[in-house]
Amino acid sequence: MICGEAISKYALRAVTSNPDYVERLLPRTDFPLCDQVVLIGSGLIWNIYYAVLALFFGFFFATAIAVAKASQQPVLSWLARTFIFIFRGSPLFIQFFLAYETFTLIPKVGIDIPLGFTTITAETAWLTRAWLGALIVLFLNTSAYSAEIFYGALQSIPKGDIEAADAYGLSGFKRFRRVIFPSMLRLAWPSYTNEAIFLFHATTLVYFSGFPAWRQSADALYYANYFADKTFNPFVAYPIIAVYFILFTLLIIGLFGLVNTRLNRHLPADHRRKFTFRPTLIR
């Protein structure tokens, strides 16, 4: 098998440093290509973890914020606007720094959460760890960007759709769920695809800003940077991570394209909105 030894040594190095599963020490003196490819690929586990969870939770929060921004209630709308302004108007890099410094100031205590059958102790110290702290920042950040996209889509829902819903006697939450939300999603989806891509790219910032890597378990860019520093040769490690990211970007475009097709399935082909790359959403 290609790179079999490197895979058995380092495939899970990004998530654990337990010597039962992985080689604890990173390569130090010589850096075979296999080790570099496997370790950087192992780091991608974290990039995927952050992107998937932040996008998943962010999706619901963003919908709520978009609705709040579009609401007639001035206080609610103002709150939503302020939230979006703060997270879209400042660099993600600074947000990570600031969040980390804030989380380190929170007193270290454990909070018991009863789950019925068992009790887990949530420690506030987890917030200073990247897996939770950085996830929260990314979640809030993508919520703000997505909320702006969803708000734009809410504003451009065809008037006729809503009038038709009214004519059918739909109102309140039912009208939202059956008519407004699907239309919003359909209109927003091409831009939302861009947001997903750039959120995935933004996950590379986690270990570069504030959040320290624990026992050298970190994301793909951490390892790529490690190799580039150690070998003093940027022409191997960075192209490897670049190829990984291109592949995953194509995967995101493919997956979101499938959803887009489904969202547009009732429309004639020439009315469908297609994904176009627009670098409007980089942090």
Binding site: S90, P91, E101, F208, T231
Partner: protein, 293 residues
């Protein structure tokens, strides 16, 4: 700075704060804001130039040039920009040193890459080992600037290429019918009209550029993030102005600084859009026309 600051231990409250905020290190912090503004002022036109050339290359009739343009404009789509920011400065540095090595030390026989080292002769080092500190700092800033120009040039090329395609075809055909050469059509008809289509994208790009400036810190430039960490870290009583860990306040200040920058830019760009929309056959131009009528 003030005369009453001579003995910081004896003062308190606002007086202490006024002394604390005017120490030499704090002025270095304020000066580093200028570094950020200088980067913005230089990176924006450079990126525009790179972007314009990239968009032109993508429209070129000569196929290899067109492929190069396509690769350049597409490379930022799939790869995070931070990878370019880490890659370009070091790659550029090694490329320049390698060229100088070939020119200045032709009789050097050992390979440049020895194991995990990159070795060039002393005369080819950039900057030279003997040069003063400011040359090193300027060189670091320069490589960072090139990285910004290349990455944002690629974004700008995307926008400008789209804008060039958005200019109504009929306009160009009319120009051709008047007997203009291809070059004249490009410079006299296409370029003047494309800006209104490019503006939304370029405004966005400007915002992104502002928000990318803290990455300078990653490239080893002593920018505001560097100074915020430096000054905010807890200072023991050995220092003139001892204080606990205040980094959170410094980062809050940075956050406000960036919010003000993006907010101000939004206002200015909104005005420019209004002005450029005047008399254009776009939705914005139509709205202006109706409002005036």
């Amino acid at each position: 700075m003030f005369s009453y600051c001579a003995d910081p231990d004896s003062i308190e409250g606002l007086t202490w704060l006024s002394c604390y905020l005017t120490t030499g290190k704090h002025f270095a912090f304020y000066r580093s804001i200028l570094v950020v503004l200088a980067l913005l002022a230089m990176a924006a036109p450079l990126a525009m130039a790179f972007g314009f050339l990239g968009a032109m290359a993508r429209r070129a009739a000569f196929a290899p040039l067109r492929w190069f343009g396509a690769i350049y404009t597409n490379m930022v789509r799939g790869v995070p920009d931070i990878i370019f920011f880490l890659f370009v400065p070091i790659a550029l540095d090694q490329a320049l040193e390698w060229i100088r090595h070939q020119v200045k030390c032709p009789d050097w026989t050992e390979p440049v890459r020895q194991g995990n080292d990159f070795v060039v002769c002393a005369a080819a080092k950039l900057p030279l080992g003997s040069s003063p500190q400011w040359v090193h700092e300027t060189y670091g800033f320069f490589t960072a600037l090139v990285a910004f120009a290349i990455v944002f040039g690629a974004f700008a090329a995307n926008t400008l290429y789209g804008a060039m395609n958005a200019v109504p075809r009929a306009q160009l055909e009319t120009a051709e019918a008047f007997g203009m050469t291809e070059r004249k059509v490009f410079w006299r008809i296409l370029v003047p009209q494309m800006w209104i289509y490019a503006l939304p994208g370029l405004s966005n790009l400007w915002m992104i550029l502002i928000k990318a400036t803290p990455l300078l810190f990653l490239l080893g430039v002593e920018d505001i993030v560097y100074w915020a960490r430096e000054l905010g870290g807890s200072k023991t009583s050995q220092f003139d102005y001892p204080h606990p860990d205040w980094r959170i306040y410094y980062f809050l200040a940075l956050l406000v600084f960036y919010l003000l920058m993006t907010w101000g830019s939004e206002k200015v760009l909104g005005r420019i859009t209004r002005r450029l929309s005047h008399g254009q056959a776009t939705a914005g131009g139509e709205r202006l026309r109706k409002a005036a009528a």
